[in-house]
């Protein structure tokens, strides 16, 4: 079956009323968590993991995809109206969008962000549709050695390239790897790092770590700071949501350029969404006929970065669906959800779970339309959400977090771990350690160990197999380059 036929079959499934309903719920919840500060898609998906026992896999992943895309859409509302970027990728939107809002053009800023997100999200999904099968074909040649090297490349990229400090990123990664190794070693049956506690034999649940770090950690940090209850003003929803002819003319090229930055960079192991949004912003500033407006509310400065952000969201799904490699915290949680359903990820996913994957991709197209419809007409509702007083907002976030973790296995020990991870999250937030490497390390460490052992069994204990196999060697060389090049470059530049 060609990709196009498979996609059509996926649309057939995604348009079933029940699947459509889950997609709609996902988009709605995603926009909600994108709008609300302090709660993001990784946390939301982690909280919903206990539902995996009750809902069919296809419906669940369609909902997760809706949450993932929806959060990227919703984040722009918060950035524009209260200048609080939920994540680094929304920084430029906050900078220009909030200035537009202050000049009475909040409506146009929200409109160009939403339409740009739709355009770029659709372009990103198109690219995912047609490039994913090609990546799968290439990945079928991967053996355990290549997988091990690819995982090393991914974790190095996520830790060393993203974030403010390579050292702190690598410490977070090692901490995550250490936590990932807790529990019974699956090959030998020996307990590791369990301190003789039976509760630790099954290892540390990704949900507990992710929810603890993202939700409890954030609440602890903001509570400790004590500034949240004196939060900044929410801008009035001024200006029409209809864009003028000039707004359209200044936006459409920025949307397209943003999409073409976002998808390929998002699909790379080290890509993320921060780099394409920054590139898009500076490109628009350079190409604009009104460069003087940048920093004071230029519409291109919202259109381009928002498009790049959404296209990057589609890009991140590429390594997840084709290789089983997560390159962001949200992708790591989604990988954990696949494991929860007993679904083997990697290139074989397209063959063994073709219907699920193509339904998921089709639902991304539909989700984009739903989000466009949800975002603009309901913007008044999203603005009201921003006015929820912080004590009740964070009480809700922590109670739902506790319910999500407790509901997964009625384990009080896990609730204790949740708050312990909250303290770790608080310290990480305060001392600027990135959270994504910890989560990615937690998930990938046991998988990388497994691949390494398989590769060594095949090579009869020959460690050079990782270097002598061309693809594996190349991946390790890139990983080494990523580790060495940035500090070397800094040193050269300082001279």
């Amino acid at each position: 079956m060609s990709s196009f036929d498979a996609l059509l079959a996926g649309f057939g499934n995604a348009l079933q009323p029940v699947t459509l309903m889950w997609g709609f719920v996902g988009c709605f919840v995603g926009t909600l968590v994108g709008v609300l500060p302090g709660i993001g898609p990784a946390l939301t998906i982690a909280l919903l993991l206990p539902l995996t026992y009750h809902v069919p896999a296809t419906s669940m992943f369609v909902m997760f995809a809706g949450i993932y895309y929806g959060a990227a859409y919703g984040g722009s509302t918060t950035s524009i109206l209260i200048k609080t970027p939920g994540e680094a990728a929304s920084m430029m939107t906050a900078l220009e969008g909030n200035k537009m809002a202050r000049r009475g053009r909040a409506g146009q800023a929200l409109a160009t962000a939403a339409i740009g997100s739709f355009v770029a999200g659709t372009i990103g999904t198109l690219a995912l549709t047609f490039f994913a099968p090609l990546v799968v074909d290439a990945a079928l040649a991967f053996g355990p050695a290549e997988y091990f090297s690819l995982m090393i490349l991914s974790v190095v990229a996520v830790s060393a390239v993203l974030g403010n400090s390579m050292l702190r990123g690598l410490i977070a990664l090692m901490l995550g790897a250490l936590l990932g190794l807790v529990g019974i070693d699956l090959q030998t049956g020996q307990p590791r790092f369990t301190f003789g506690q039976a509760a630790l034999l099954d290892g540390i649940e990704v949900t507990v770590a992710a929810v603890g770090i993202f939700a409890v950690g954030e609440a602890l940090y903001l509570g400790w700071q004590g500034r949240e209850s004196k939060a900044g003003e929410v801008m009035k929803l001024s200006g029409s949501l209809w864009m003028s002819k000039s707004d359209w003319a200044r936006s459409w090229k920025a949307w397209l350029r943003g999409a073409f930055y976002g998808f390929p960079i998002g699909a790379m192991p080290a890509g993320g969404a921060e780099l394409p949004t920054l590139l898009s912003y500076y490109t628009e500033k350079k190409l604009s006929k009104h460069p003087e407006e940048f920093g004071h509310g230029a519409i291109e400065g919202v259109a381009g970065p928002e498009a790049a952000n959404n296209a990057a969201a589609a890009g991140v799904l590429m390594p997840l669906l084709t290789l089983g490699i997560p390159t962001s915290a949200t992708a790591a949680i989604m990988l954990s959800a696949f494991e929860g359903y007993g679904i083997q990820t990697g290139p074989q996913l397209f063959a063994s779970q073709g219907s699920l994957v193509w339904t998921l991709i089709a639902s991304l197209y539909i989700g984009n339309v739903i989000l466009l419809v949800l975002n603009l007409p309901l913007v008044g509702l999203w603005v009201k959400l921003l006015k929820i007083p912080p004590p009740w907002l964070y009480a809700g976030i922590i109670v739902i977090s506790t319910a999500g973790v407790y509901g997964a296995g009625n384990s009080i020990f896990n609730v204790g771990l949740l708050f312990a991870f909250g303290l770790i999250g608080y310290a990480m937030r305060r001392f600027d350690f990135p959270a994504a490497p910890l989560i990615v390390g937690l998930i990938l460490a046991p998988m990388a160990e497994q691949s390494m052992r398989q590769a060594l069994t095949i090579s009869m204990g020959n460690w050079t197999t990782f270097l002598t196999r061309p693809l594996s060697g190349s991946l390790l060389a890139i990983a080494a380059l990523l580790l060495i090049a940035p500090p070397l470059w800094r040193k050269i530049r300082n001279r």
Partner: protein, 154 residues
């Protein structure tokens, strides 16, 4: 708390983890890589990175966000932190004997207190509504096993 103290905490963690690597039982299975190699490499890597971080922190080169402009904690920071954690402890202590809703309410009140909401009736009513809504959604509608909502339902 300072970055150097974080380095000391990490060093303590490394020491504990190294002790745990030492007590991993050797496997009787014949294999190239046993159960201890990867944990040992990870702990070793973390120890080296911690050392570098510690030296860097000692020289004052590591960041503490709370020292940045507009980021420092307002008075009463530790009390707020502790009230949030106390909410979590209350939940853990009471969810067994009292079901979900009352401990969930107390947990929410602890969190709300951390965000400067007084510990009074309004807080109890709002947090009670939140805990009840989540219990109904998760346990009643979605079938997640949160246990009974109230003690008399146990």
């Amino acid at each position: 708390m300072t970055p150097f103290r974080i380095a000391l905490l990490l060093a303590t963690l490394c020491a504990v983890a190294a002790w745990q690597v030492g007590v991993i039982p050797e496997s009787l299975m014949q294999m190239t890589v046993g159960p201890t190699l990867v944990p040992a490499v990870v702990v070793g890597g973390l120890a080296v990175l911690t050392l570098v971080y510690g030296v860097s922190a000692w020289r004052g080169r590591q960041s503490d966000e709370s020292l940045a402009e507009d980021q420092s904690a307002l008075p009463g920071a530790n009390t707020r932190l502790l009230s949030l954690l106390a909410g979590g402890v209350a939940f853990m202590a009471l969810v067994g004997p009292l079901g979900f809703i009352i401990p969930g309410t107390l947990c929410g009140m602890g969190v709300a207190r951390a965000f400067d909401a007084p510990f009074h009736l309004k807080s109890a009513i709002v947090c009670g509504a939140i805990a009840t809504a989540f219990w109904v959604l998760f346990a009643h509608i979605l079938g997640v096993g949160l246990g009974p909502g109230l003690p008399w339902l146990i």
